[in-house]
């Protein structure tokens, strides 16, 4: 095997400066943590954290047929969003399995930006271009963007200090294509992957380090860098799906409970027939929340047993920093999915009892 050099984001030197603990994350050299995952996690829940998410992929879809093209590739109804609005959606195979989950930015009905998972960029680009039609142009612009996420209840207050753009005007899942922050022209959306209020900032790679440092300086004690470890525990606690765990070629969006993002009445799209059938007959498997009855920490891909037989697996599991105890998500047959149902999780070859719950995950307190 030939070892290939890890890719670095434009913020690599900044992470080194902050003494980030760098790991190989799907071919990217990124910080898993700086001071500690739990501390970073808590800071995002209570104040603010800043994340380098420059590894995310960006694919530009332009042309007079752009809207219809996206509509045919995605499960959500892209015609429902307006200019400067963002939509979470999924791309499926004909059998209903998931190519990727992503967010769509609509600049106009002839100009969209898709933000996709880093590990899926090449696969997505190939899948999208393999369905290309006349009147559509597809461009992989991943290398042109740095992306910085500022998440937490104090995100707006901190960023507003260094911005002439009125950030309070950007509503949840909307964006400002021509924003100004720290003297840098950028695109800012009120989006994120933590379950908190916050923003994601897209800007040219050569200005990323300057932007990062300005934000950290503006935030003072209210902000600190947060790594991939906290990003995962934050998204998990908020029950936000992760491709490769809650979603994948073998797990449909309906099995993962993402029915809201699958619009079966808005014209044809790839996977619609299979998903329609799943919806009508009910999926065999259901994603359930669970808590541990015995001692142990459930982790992704651990097997779930009932009456001596494997019935499913854990998609994500962790010690929840907010609740101070382990919680998990598992994909189980529908007949075992009701709250109160007990099953065993195989942890190091030993069965440890767990129980289906509902409402055990994090919901941001409403103001």
């Amino acid at each position: 095997m030939v070892s290939t050099a890890l890719k670095r984001t434009p913020l690599y030197e900044v992470h080194k400066h902050h003494q980030g603990k760098m790991i190989d994350f799907g071919g990217w050299e990124l910080p898993v943590q700086y001071t500690g995952i739990i501390q970073e996690h808590q800071l995002v829940r209570t104040q603010a954290g800043i994340f380098d998410v420059s590894h995310m992929g960006e694919i530009l879809i332009t042309g007079e047929k752009a809207e219809a093209f996206i509509q045919y590739l995605m499960t959500n109804d892209v015609t429902r969003i307006k200019d400067n609005q963002v939509q979470y959606t999924l791309m499926c195979y004909p059998d209903g399995g998931v190519v990727d989950d992503l967010i769509v930015y609509r600049y106009s009905n002839q100009h969209y930006l898709l933000v996709v998972n880093a590990s899926n960029v090449d696969k997505d680009y190939e899948w999208i271009t393999s369905h290309i039609v006349e009147g559509v142009k597809v461009t992989n612009v991943s290398d042109q963007y740095a992306q910085i996420a500022v998440q937490g209840p104090k995100a707006q207050e901190i960023l507003q200090k260094i911005s002439t753009t009125d950030l309070s005007c950007i509503r949840f899942f909307w964006f400002e294509p021509q924003a100004e922050l720290a003297g840098i022209q950028c695109m800012i959306s009120r989006t994120g992957y933590t379950g908190e209020d916050g923003f994601e900032i897209y800007l040219p790679t050569d200005q990323a380090a300057e932007m990062w440092c300005s934000i950290v300086a503006a935030g003072g004690d209210d902000i600190a860098p947060a790594g991939l470890g906290a990003r995962d525990t934050l998204r998990f606690e908020a029950k936000l799906p992760l491709y490769g765990q809650e979603l994948g070629p073998d797990i449909s969006p309906l099995e993962a409970g993402l029915n809201t993002f699958v619009k079966l009445d808005s014209g044809d799209f790839i996977g619609r027939e299979a998903l329609l059938q799943q919806k009508e007959s009910g999926t065999d498997r259901v994603l359930v929340e669970f808590e541990m009855v015995g001692k142990g920490i459930p982790r992704s891909h651990y097997e779930v047993y009932k009456n001596g037989e494997q019935i499913g697996f854990v998609t994500s599991g962790a010690h929840s920093p907010t609740f101070g105890k382990p919680i998990g998500l598992a994909l189980l047959p529908r007949q075992w999915s009701e709250p109160g149902e007990e099953f065993d999780i195989m942890i190091r070859s030993k069965p440890v009892p767990a129980r289906v719950t509902r409402g055990a995950f994090y919901k941001r307190p409403t103001k």
Binding site: K21, I37, G296, I297, H319
Partner: protein, 127 residues
């Protein structure tokens, strides 16, 4: 990184303190630092017979699962139950918190362990 002089060390980042025929086993400062926030410890089984190289405990941090091995053979005669309720103690005071105490069958296996200087060097090589 702290490496107390009076202890012996393994290349799996455990420390051993010898008191007569008893070997007190714990994890090093280097180990706890690399694991990050420790959130669960599966402590050894009391009275278990263990052989050198056996896994005697499991430590889970937020991000990873890691085994603790005993470098000596013998019987587990004491365990640190406090770690079940407060696993983060291993982050806070790795040399004050033991994992288990082993009554050794053959103290000569201690000869294979590293001194503090050797261990410090070993850690530097690990980066």
């Amino acid at each position: 990184m702290k490496v107390p002089q009076e202890l012996k060390y393994t290349n799996e980042h455990e420390w051993i303190k010898v008191e007569g025929n008893r070997a007190i086993l714990g994890i090093t400062d280097y180990a706890q630092h690399n694991l990050g926030d420790i959130v669960f410890v599966e402590i050894p089984e009391l009275d278990a017979q263990v052989s050198s190289g056996d896994e005697v405990a499991v430590i889970e941090s937020v991000k990873t699962v890691s085994s603790v091995y005993t470098p000596v053979s013998g019987t587990i005669v004491e365990i640190n139950e406090a770690l079940e309720e407060n696993p983060e103690l291993l982050n806070q005071e790795p040399y004050e918190q033991f994992i288990g105490i082993i009554e050794m069958d053959d103290p000569s296996s201690l000869d294979n362990l590293m001194t503090a200087e050797e261990y410090e060097q070993f850690c530097q090589e690990q980066g």
